[in-house]
């Protein structure tokens, strides 16, 4: 069941639920942050419409900085702005930022501890027709390895808005991931959001398994949970919007409670959110864990829904994989314990 304290939309599971791309949250959140603090800037590398940086540009033309197609220069220029007290957001596609400018981010933002906020748009296969070059699937891994870096992957446009506004208030270098495709707007302004705090959105009476999802696939995980429930499999769904720092307390609680975990992300399973969860749990409380995501391959052209389906990340695919995993033979040590 949907947890009431999550304050999600009431018509959550209706087919006609409003949809928006999470990148809209970048535009809304930066404008909001810009109103609160005049030191907030937005830098963009010639993608101001599609990254929604132009929403900030319209509101604060003097605080919008056009960088041209130069993501390396953008990252380090932002570090320079931050060194003089500005709070710069940099906007480009995740394939280029942090894809192309990783070393600049590493040296001049992370090691240099400057509060630059990196917006990586068009992440994941749901970019769609643009194809593999533009479908960034390695950004979470790259960014969560960097000391000092906070990594956030919002679940919908509303949560993205909150994440951007919240990031503007911290002194931390921060990476926020956004998607291109319109996806369900299922959280509300009342839904709690705190950087570093995972949310349990769904909780069955007798959960047998936990689904930990991140980004717009959180909604697919909720749809899957509803399907599992009608199949008699109770579950917990966690929205792990902050991948670093990891909300270890919540992970430990759900792992102990259900003893089995499935992770869901639009990213390589190597190095991504599922890896972060596996790394933590395997050190402290190992449980059988299934990672759903992209398995060591690049994306391709297609429609977003088609690609999500193809790579096994749609609600039905999550449902089937989770059902099989829940029914799978229990590990030997669990058998002996009976």
């Amino acid at each position: 069941m949907i947890r009431p304290d999550a304050k999600l939309k009431e018509n959550l599971f209706e087919k006609d639920i409003e949809k928006k791309p999470t990148r809209d949250g970048f535009g809304l959140g930066t404008v909001e942050a810009g109103k609160v603090n005049k030191n907030v800037l937005v830098l963009c590398a010639d993608l101001s419409e599609s990254t929604r940086a132009e929403w900030f540009q319209k509101e604060f033309p003097d605080r919008f900085v056009q960088m041209g197609i130069a993501e390396q220069n953008m990252a380090s220029t932002a570090a320079g702005f931050a060194a003089v007290g500005k709070i710069p957001f940099i906007a480009s596609y995740a394939a280029f930022s942090p894809g192309r400018n990783y070393e600049q981010i590493r040296t001049t933002i992370a090691l240099n501890e400057q509060p630059v906020k990196i917006g990586g748009m068009h992440a994941g296969v749901s970019v769609g027709p643009d194809g593999a070059t533009h479908q960034m699937l390695e950004d979470i891994g790259l960014m969560r390895m960097l000391p000092n870096m906070v990594v956030i992957n919002p679940a919908d446009a509303e949560e993205a808005r909150k994440a951007v506004a919240a990031a503007a208030l911290t002194p931390d270098p921060t990476y926020i991931r956004f998607g291109r495709a319109s996806t369900a707007l299922f959280t509300t302004s009342e839904t709690p959001f705190e950087i570093g705090k995972a949310q349990v959105l769904w909780e069955s009476e007798k959960p047998l398994i936990t689904l930990i999802a991140t980004g717009s696939l959180v909604y697919q995980a909720l749809l899957a949970a509803r399907g599992l429930e009608s199949d008699g499999i109770g579950s917990i769904v966690v929205n792990l919007h902050t991948i670093k720092p990891l909300d270890e307390a919540t992970l430990l609680t759900v792992a102990k409670r259900t003893g089995r975990v499935v992770t869901v992300e639009e990213h390589q399973v190597a190095g991504g959110m599922g890896s972060a969860v596996a790394e933590y749990l395997s050190e402290l409380y190992p449980v059988p864990l299934l990672r759903l995501g992209i398995r060591d391959q690049f994306g391709q052209s297609g429609e977003p829904d088609e690609l999500i389906e193809h790579y096994g990340l749609s609600a039905p695919a999550i449902l089937h994989a989770t059902r099989d995993f829940t029914h799978a033979r229990k590990p030997a040590h669990e058998k002996h314990s009976h």
Binding site: G68, Q72, T77, F81, A83
Partner: protein, 285 residues
Amino acid sequence: MALTDSEVQKLEEKAEAIRETIINMLVSAGSGHTAGPLDMTDVFTALYFHVLKHDPENPEWEERDRLILSNGHIAPVRYATMAHAGYFPVEECLTLRKFGTRLQGHPERLKLPGMETTSGPLGEGLSQGNGMAYAFRMNKKSNRVYVVMGDGEQDEGMVWEAVMWAGKNKLHNLTAIIDRNNIQIDGMTEDVMPLDSLRAKYEAFNWHVLEVDGHNLRQFIEAVDEAKAIYERPTVIIAHTIAGKGVPDIEFDYHWHGKPPTKEEGKRFLKEIRSMGGKVPHEYS
């Protein structure tokens, strides 16, 4: 205002003392770069002892000018100059590259107050200087930004992204200084990747270009003053230097880009520095 002869002489004596410190710290470290620090000693002396608005007692003073060292591998010259300027005791220079030191092999902003940026990977200093200069202009502040780069560093594509952006934005409060010593790790710059004409390149990107003898303190300081008077564009001072300047044994030799002197070599180099032009007596040898 033009420098008097005695002011120039004082700066030159300071530069020689800093060169000695550099040799000592490199010998003590057992690794590091020799040629660049020695050839940029005159420029750093001029910056810290004449050009920069700064306060060694208060490295984070808001009104200070910002000096960005982009080619972080020549950090020993900055450390040594800062120590002589009073940022920290000169003896601390001997901790260069050692465990627990504030004087990291490549400089880190958070380790040593006054460093401004973390650098080493090449090509990133100008971008950061650009951001600072633009921010100062937004804030209507008069702080100036100086960015020191190597000539080999100009191979990095990112440098030209930043050069283009500074030209576009007419960052007149920013002065770049290029150490034109014509060497890089693998050989002479014109063999590894020809840079000539740096002047034409920067002019094409809408910069004001000045070329000076990087060992002529008066000429360098005059160029810095001229840059302050240029309001339409950023200025780059191409400082023609002699790699390893001050130690005749190693001058012009690219093999000294990335290695330190041994103890024996260090002793010999120190004697050579101290006998330069007869300005400093042999008394220490």
